[in-house]
């Protein structure tokens, strides 16, 4: 199993450009998440999904959109990139349920995005 994969690994954008980050998981997990990691800020949840066709906002959703058309894929879109969106983006997935409704999350390797 590949686990959680992310495409691309690196990307440089100019302000105002758009792009889509792709996350794929082969573990048949119901839940998927997008985080951004910034120095000194830890990981912050952008959006998440609790099943195919569902999405929900996390802590820092502004400027991002997501879609979960297939269970195994979770897409993160930036419609008009800004320098403040320069970050490392991580996707994660987890099984549904668990004690307290939360199982361990499995993370992808990350996408390093620079917006000039």
């Amino acid at each position: 199993n590949a686990g959680v994969t992310q495409t691309p690994k690196f990307r440089v954008l100019k302000t105002g450009q758009s792009m889509t980050l792709l996350c794929a998981q082969d573990m048949n997990h119901e839940y998927m998440y997008w985080y951004r990691q910034d120095p000194g800020m830890g990981l912050r949840l952008i959006h998440y999904s609790v099943g195919e066709g569902t999405t929900a906002k996390g802590e820092v959703p502004d400027g991002y959109n997501v879609s979960r058309l297939k269970k195994q894929n979770f897409l993160l879109g930036l419609e008009s990139a800004a320098p403040s969106q320069t970050s490392v983006y991580f996707c994660a997935s987890s099984q549904q349920g668990g004690t307290g409704g939360l199982n361990e999350q499995f993370f992808g390797p990350g996408t390093r995005l620079t917006v000039l």
Partner: protein, 115 residues
Amino acid sequence: AQSVAQPEDQVNVAEGNPLTVKCTYSVSGNPYLFWYVQYPNRGLQFLLKYITGDNLVKGSYGFEAEFNKSQTSFHLKKPSALVSDSALYFCAVRAVNSGYSTLTFGKGTMLLVSP
């Protein structure tokens, strides 16, 4: 709102010595607590979790964590550090959003183990 604090940006320890990485939490209700590790240029990996039961939780790679309700702490420990333990460590707590559980992460603590 749920939150975790990691008071140390960096912890330095010599190989073979015991290590502690600190975490305190603030929650309403029962705390569900996690530790993750991030090696350079990699995604996070799950180490261990506390849901209920014994206050000492054992996890991967010889790590353990001690839950202390009165001090609202969940410190990560290892009896004998290895150079290969050098990494970024994150404490996390369950948060509830729109009826679903998610994780709120601390800012991370860099652990450096010297030979």
